[in-house]
Amino acid sequence: MWNPLSPSEVIAAMGGPVRDAARGEEPLDDWESGQLLSVYSATRHLAAEVGAVEPHIGELTGDLAAALRSSTDETELAARLSQLAELLEGVDDSRQAAEIACQALDLVRVDGSTSAEHVRAEIHVALARAVELEVRLLADAIEGPVEP
């Protein structure tokens, strides 16, 4: 979900190998064919990413926000995590959500209290759910659904 480069940056990068192949006067060699096959593979991944994965970003931010608010203590840590949860709720880019999750994990790692470790475990659960969802959606689109 929070992979480097945005979908539009990936699309822009596809142009180079396609243009080179179109302009080339010689038959494609092994290397050039490989470049075009990589572009083809990326189109399939990108279609699944935009069409199937991105609509679930709200679930990721919601799960993460709930994890950050899972501490019942009234500590400074809990207050700061709650601020990050509020930030998350206004985010619609998974890369920004990942950045906020990293900031939250920085806080709980340094704190090290039992309460912080509880929040950390809840963040793990939310992240694991997002990872499993992304892999399943990409795999269903690219490799086909698992046969029963």
Partner: protein, 338 residues
């Protein structure tokens, strides 16, 4: 340009005494694969009319990994005196100003082809080997045991000596420098590695990228182990952890091959390795090395994307690398038991 490149290959081979003066380059083809080295096959006609083929390994400008070509060459030279199957190196050009766009070395062309762990045909062929003669499976485990038993003092002194923590720090530094996006799972992964440091160390020569795709197989037998650019002296269980990864068994998003590394049953391989080296291996003890090898992959894939984004390469595979990250995160989540 191809002619100029071929002339340069001939010049290096004549300079090293590998070919008599007057040889002529006839064909040069760049082959797929190779992320931080570009690979070409050169066909040369000697003055006596005989034909030879050679592999040219080029360190391109903006190579994916900052690894030394000269050291890799010296490692091949040192391995030539051992029982580990490797191609003989035949000459090197260390000037970065070459028609190939960077330093390169030449080595002999050996019979055999690399296996593509993502190809169903190759997976099927290796599964048939496992169900039959087990020539590949036996060669893979015996060769790895040989590598790990090598006398490291007989290897080039410049090979890095890295502890477990050094390797964690190495890949963390790459991630920190090259990431375009902070990733909470990768960052927790590095923390997990520090918290799960093995209590003992089994020192030896670590190949660093030991998998079926970095070998050549001909007629059901291993003919060469290639791609030594990540070699170091350290805990040899890194190579085992890497081999037992689901990714080494052809997993991109979902695992498809049953066999470890696509060529052997995991329990069989580890038991055989233990008896060959005298060092039994429990699969659970490999968990930190599995995650460590994933962090190596993460660092290289993050670097690949960074290089394209920063105009250091126009190789589109470097952009595609972003799609290998979801599967790696999936492996990490399960290894860390989240």
């Amino acid at each position: 340009m191809t002619e100029v490149k071929l002339e340069e290959v001939v010049r290096v081979l004549e300079g090293s005494g590998e070919l008599a003066p007057g040889a002529r380059g006839e064909e040069l083809e760049q082959i797929q694969g190779g992320w931080s080295r570009h690979t070409y096959i050169a066909r040369i006609r000697a003055v006596d009319g005989s034909e030879s083929r050679h592999v040219v390994r080029v360190r391109p400008p903006g190579a994916l990994l900052d690894t030394e070509l000269e050291l890799e060459y010296q490692v091949y030279e040192a391995l030539d005196t051992t029982s580990v199957p490797t191609p003989r190196v035949q000459g090197i050009e260390l000037s970065p100003e070459t028609p190939f766009g960077g330093q390169f070395f030449v080595m002999e062309f050996l019979p055999g082809s690399p296996s593509n762990i993502y190809s169903r045909d190759d997976q099927q062929r290796l599964a048939e080997d496992w169900d039959g003669s087990r020539g590949v499976a036996n060669d893979m485990v015996e060769t790895l045991a040989e590598i790990h038993k090598l006398d490291v003092t007989a290897m080039p002194a410049r090979i890095q000596r890295l502890s477990y923590l050094d390797v964690v720090a190495k890949w963390k530094a790459v991630y920190d420098e090259r990431k375009l996006v902070r990733d909470p799972i990768f960052e927790e992964g590095f923390d997990w590695l520090l918290a799960n440091q093995p209590k003992d160390q089994r020192e030896g020569l670590v190949h660093g990228d030991y998998r079926i795709g970095n070998t050549l197989v001909a007629d059901g037998r291993l003919t060469a182990v290639l791609d030594w650019e990540l070699v170091y002296v350290g805990d040899v269980r890194f190579d085992l952890g890497y081999l037992v990864l689901e990714r080494s068994a052809g997993k991109h998003l979902r695992r498809r091959a049953e066999l470890m590394g696509t060529f052997a049953d995991e329990a069989w391989f580890l038991e055989r390795y233990g008896s060959l080296t005298g060092n039994p291996v429990e699969v659970e003890s490999l968990r930190p090395f599995q995650l460590l090898s994933i962090m190596m992959l993460v660092a290289t894939q993050v670097t690949a994307v960074w290089m394209h984004a920063n105009g250091k390469t126009d190789d589109f595979r470097m952009v595609w690398a972003r799609y290998s990250l979801p599967g790696l995160r999936d492996d990490m989540v399960r290894l860390m038991k989240w």
